[in-house]
Symmetry: C2
């Protein structure tokens, strides 16, 4: 008998028909003798309509009240699923964050999990219940209701898995696993049977939306296996675990991702003094703007530098404003920005040992007439900033060269 945690997204609990299907799937596992905890999101559409409601009432709804408003959505899902499971003749009990002391920090709309009291969940499981738990939400030490932000329900499921030492956390979604590239871009993407935490993190951080990095980070820290699979059929999906299959170690690159979700800012003609870069990035950090790729280039005279960096497109406007201030403060020449960029990334633990691959990536892009603007490399990730219009061509070229031909 195993302890299995299953997470279903909003589409899977959108209406009564879907909820009943989830109930049946849950019971298949329960009937095999497993203990099952189900984590659900709000019904599809509910969160959006609640957010719309909030902004009808105020242009600047407080984050505390947004959390209070949005967490009503998961409550609908957990009660609905518990009712559907009970209707199939099995015991079920829905539980809310406050009922299991699902403690988080007090940063409303983007809280971090601190601690989970597993006593109540274990008690309910031992009584033979399927436990249906509300994803995305938590409470603070002062009983304030919080939400975990993006990827919240995935994170809830994996955190529960860690706290309860679950045998597996299954994340049900509308795709059947992690692919070597976006199937909408590439003709012959391959589904990965396994992927390491590290690779999955790089994939997620580089544009693969299938699993949120926060969830992967927790899974990695506690060694929890995640099974990412489709809620539409019973096929095996992709297992995210400590190491990918051994055969995979021979593979240089397991995935090509891309994102158009960044913008680039350049501070040009910055007088070359020590501590300039630190000043730039500490000012951005204070405004809670994350920079991704950073490039500092000297001018011919060596007296001036150009500093370029990329940020999330959501932060671009604010980052440009801050850079204008920095221009004045530092006596720089100008600020320019470009929203029409894309980042493509080639990811694989094999990069660690295949030193030649990085150069081959640049070659491949050059052969296809794609100009590289900025480069960022980690041990298992080579990322390039290119023109947005080149992105699909770049993904196809790299996928063909490093995945299809291998």
């Amino acid at each position: 008998m195993a302890l299995i945690i299953q997470k279903y997204g909003g589409t899977s609990v959108a209406d009564a028909v879907r909820v009943k299907e989830v109930a049946k799937r849950v019971l298949k596992y329960k009937n095999e003798g497993h203990d099952v905890i189900v984590v659900v999101s709000a019904p599809a559409g509910t969160t959006d309509s609640l957010i719309r409601r909030a902004y009808e009432l105020s242009e600047t709804p407080s984050k505390r009240e947004l959390d209070m408003l949005l967490t009503s959505g998961e409550q609908i899902s957990i009660a609905s699923l518990a009712i559907a499971i009970e209707d199939l003749g099995k015991k079920a009990v829905s539980l809310n964050a406050f009922q299991v002391d699902f403690k988080t920090t007090d940063e409303h709309t983007k809280a971090t999990i601190l601690d989970i009291n597993t006593d109540i969940i274990r008690e309910k499981l031992s009584e033979g219940n399927v436990v249906v738990f509300a994803g995305f939400q938590g409470i603070t030490e002062n009983n304030e209701i919080t939400t975990l932000g993006r990827g919240g329900s995935d994170t809830t499921a994996v955190a529960l898995g860690a706290a309860l030492k679950a045998d597996e956390v299954e994340i049900y979604t509308d795709v059947d696993g992690v692919y070597t590239a976006d199937p909408r871009v590439v003709k012959n993407p391959k589904k990965l049977n396994t992927i390491s935490y590290q690779e999955m993190l790089e994939m997620a951080a580089s544009g693969a939306k299938v699993l949120h990095p926060r969830a992967v980070e927790i899974a990695a820290r506690y060694g929890i296996k995640i099974h990412l699979r489709s809620s539409f059929d019973d096929s095996t999906g992709t297992i995210v675990k400590e190491k990918g299959d051994e055969s995979m170690e021979q593979v240089k690159i397991i995935g090509i991702t891309s994102t158009k979700n960044e913008g680039k800012i350049t501070l040009s003609g910055v007088p070359d003094k020590p501590g300039i870069a630190a000043k730039v990035f500490s000012k951005l950090a204070k405004a809670k703007i994350n920079t991704d790729i950073i490039l500092q280039s000297s001018s011919v005279t060596k007296e001036f530098n150009n500093i370029s960096y990329t940020v999330s497109i959501d932060d671009l406007k604010e980052a440009v404003e801050i850079s204008q201030e920095l221009k004045e403060e530092l006596g720089a020449e100008g600020v320019s920005y470009d929203a029409n960029i894309a980042k493509i990334s080639a990811i694989g633990i094999g990069l660690k040992t295949h030193y030649e691959t990085t150069a081959e990536i640049f070659d491949t892009l050059a052969e296809n007439g794609i100009n590289i603007d900025m480069i960022s490399c980690s041990e298992i990730n080579v990322s390039c900033i290119i023109k947005e219009e080149d992105v699909n061509k770049a993904v196809r070229a790299l996928h063909e060269k490093f995945i299809e031909e291998n």
Copy 2:
């Protein structure tokens, strides 16, 4: 500076426009320097749609999960109203049952309030917040979520008023007060400026739907003034308090109510033995069926009795079945029932001193050709069971005689 509790029903918070109107009204009081606690119901329609959802999933949803499901509705309302108040520049904070330890019994869907921890509410008020509290819901000692059943939000408001020793509890509704009779039946109903708890209780129990008896009972026990008023204008409504205005004491009857919400059952030919009536009503009580009016009549031979009683129309089917069992157990002759009855009630503290009035009521009905089937009198209430088809005629006749002509 007073402490005022305002309760708004689902219609008042149905959409953003309505919620903003409520926010403005709340702030009028806040700006006058009062501390304000607002109790809100779920947005109109939400509870019904959630119940529909539950019954799509199961013909017999568990009461625990129904409570979990339904309480999401009030959470939407409290967050929405808090956002709207904050948007007008004032501090507001929404609070849920678990956040203020609003303790109830564990009878799901019809829990009774046990205790309220007022510390958090007082703290939030002292920080200058309007407190927006979720009506209808509570939690048990084991952190299970409960609901208070019918009239729940009114009850929440009055219970908070009692716990916090509020100066007034205002119940906002779609009528502007308590009337001497249903304006849809009677041409010239009078709005009552004041009414005593006792009279209000009898009115509510006898068909006036304007305020739930549970809320009135709590108000009476703790001496909390209720101001029942319209959410559409600023006019004064009806104050429910210990004693009605002194002038009212001279009035024999302050209201005529009617309800078609009862059915009558007769067990005929019951052998006359001691303890028979007790047996009948303890069996009904065990099935949690409340009987209203009871009539035991001896037959001419005195060897057999007929026992008639009325129950809520919702319980009629089950009560008939139980009566069939009783027929066998007691060796009675037959069971008959009648769903086409109505109860009319004349209510007033004046009845205590005007002994002749009861007879005048029967006379008035007789003069109008209305047959009285059963009679039940308390100190301040004379109720008659009549044919359903006679009900409006009866209300008009009694209203004319005892209210319009006085």
